[in-house]
């Protein structure tokens, strides 16, 4: 049945997938990661498309329980593409079903690259910056703005990805990669993320070195000298040191956190570091 009229899904069906996509990481597991979340989101579409074809429905359900992982907030882009492809598959006899998962697999890595730097690296950092600066003064607007600044753009983006992914269908991946658009978006997001991180190292990492050299009024405080060379140089160097430990020495996050606690206590005991 290969006719020009292949649209079976309507906006309501897509909205069901959109809402269900919010639970993407609810059953995140080590074996196949967000696979069950993905399958869960696809259920309404598959139930509709393969209503009278139980065997094809079973195949499709299994297809969407394969390994899946990407930034959850933009997973709707792939869900939209999968929806379009399943729709085509249900109406065309000669559709290559293996292409559905191939597109999924091909897209989730690059999408996670963009999504992680955009959502985790940039948007969350902006929300944290504004939220914590208010919250440190005990202002209730801190946590509220924190949630709103992250979630309003996130939900809009999730919606655009859903509808856009469905509209573009399977051709999306090739188009993005041919034009180098993917690289450009990744590079652009990296710029925003890194500039924010640089700014936050300067403003949110605090190190005081009250250790002084000499006596009385002529005493020279080491921290002041270092800050005179480049303000904030100590936080920057300290972050660089931690970066080196985490990337080159493969230090675990928890170990690094405990190590910082110990540094703080030793610094306080010896008087090298101050509040």
């Amino acid at each position: 049945m290969t006719t020009s009229e292949t649209k079976v899904l309507n906006k309501r069906d897509l909205m069901k997938v959109f809402w269900r996509s919010f639970t993407m990481e609810w059953t995140w597991n080590y074996e196949r990661q967000a696979n069950l979340g993905y399958g869960f989101a696809m259920v309404p579409i598959l139930e509709k498309l393969y209503k009278d074809k139980p065997e094809e429905k079973a195949e499709a359900l299994q297809r969407h329980l394969e390994f899946f992982n990407t930034t959850p907030h933009v997973s709707t882009l792939i869900l939209g593409i999968s929806s379009a492809m399943e729709e085509q598959n249900s109406t065309q006899e000669d559709f290559d079903t293996s292409s559905i998962n191939n597109v999924k697999v091909g897209l989730m890595g690059p999408l996670a690259g963009i999504g992680d730097s955009l959502l985790w690296g940039t948007l969350r950092i902006i929300a944290t910056g504004i939220g914590t600066s208010l919250a440190l003064q005990g202002n209730i607007l801190g946590p509220i703005l924190f949630l709103l600044i992250f979630n309003i753009p996130h939900i809009i983006l999730r919606y655009i990805c859903m509808m856009g992914g469905y509209k573009l269908g399977a051709g999306f991946l090739t188009k993005m990669q041919q034009g180098g658009l993917m690289d450009k978006v990744t590079y652009g997001a990296a710029i925003v993320g890194l500039m924010s991180i640089g700014a936050m190292i300067a403003t949110m990492v605090t190190v005081n070195i009250p250790l002084s050299y000499g006596e009385g009024d002529s005493a020279i405080i080491i921290g002041d000298i270092l800050n005179g060379i480049i303000p904030g140089i100590i936080p920057l160097l300290f972050t660089g040191f931690i970066y080196w430990l985490v990337t080159k020495k493969k230090l675990k996050t928890t170990v690094a956190l405990l190590m910082i606690l110990v540094i703080g206590i030793i610094g306080s005991l010896t008087g090298i570091l101050g509040i």
């Binding site: 440190l136 924190f146 999730r158 034009g179 500039m195 920057l236």
Partner: protein, 256 residues
């Protein structure tokens, strides 16, 4: 007792972030605020939340890595600190070990309980039972960790409250100061992890640009993020030819 149960519920709301689009409900800044509400001191809860948020800024899930379980760390850290009347920094000393401990619990649940639901879902899929798949997802997420986390937090608070207060009050002042110092250093870890995700030889210079703008011109973080957007648009826009080909390709395909 009632407080313990309410704290368990707060932790369950935090974990429900994974039902709500991974929308940061689980972050310390939110969890500690709600904990403050339960403990009757919202303002201190918010302040503790901000401190913990900065300490845990690098703790988030990227590419399949599971971060420390900061929900229980946040809730128990804030609750025990508030109950004992200690200063906010103390919340970190409780929060970090608790978060590491609870991560072990979480991983145990992921290894021993969750696979049952995932495999049951496979079975339903094979039978073409979409509703069964959906049920395994909803039920699985709730039973494998949401409920256990609530029980864990409630029990730990109920049992730990009196003991912790005595222990916390015995902490010498140089340790308290050390904790404050560590609180200031903590965000460095988060930024290091964040940077390691994004940074390469080509783009590293932008981190320094952001840093220098902040220290010399005193531009706040939001301003620098916006400058970053502009910079990104300028730099990516220098080679517009490639982008327009990609977009033109998009138009052709809309026909089917």
């Amino acid at each position: 007792m009632l407080q313990a149960i309410l704290l368990g519920l707060v932790a369950m709301i935090g974990n429900a972030t994974f039902l709500a689009g991974t929308g940061l409900l689980d972050r310390p800044i939110v969890m500690c605020t709600l904990t403050g509400l339960v403990m009757g001191d919202v303002k201190s809860g918010i302040i503790i939340g901000a401190m913990m948020e900065l300490a845990f800024i690098g703790a988030f899930s990227v590419g399949g890595a599971i971060p420390p379980e900061m929900i229980s760390g946040g809730v128990l850290g804030a609750a025990l600190t508030l109950a004992s009347g200690n200063s906010p920094e103390v919340a970190l000393t409780i929060g970090i070990p608790v978060a590491s401990l609870a991560l072990i619990l979480k991983n145990a649940c992921k290894i021993f309980i969750l696979p049952y639901f995932v495999h049951k879902a496979d079975q339903y899929a094979k039978e073409g039972n979409g509703e069964g798949v959906s049920r395994m997802h909803m039920l699985g997420g709730f039973l494998y960790f949401n409920l256990p986390l609530g029980v864990f937090v409630a029990t730990a608070y109920y049992l730990g409250n009196t003991v912790m207060s005595t222990v916390l009050n015995a902490i010498p002042s140089f340790v308290q100061n050390g904790l404050t110092i560590a609180t200031g250093l903590m965000p460095a870890l988060g930024f290091a992890i964040l940077a390691s995700m994004i940074v390469n030889k080509k783009n590293a210079v932008f981190l320094f640009l952001g840093f220098l703008l902040a220290v010399y011109l005193n531009i706040p973080v939001t301003g620098i993020a916006l400058l970053g957007v502009v910079t990104a648009l300028i730099i990516v826009g220098i080679q517009p030819a490639q982008v327009s080909t990609a977009l033109a390709g998009g138009d052709e395909d809309d026909d089917f």
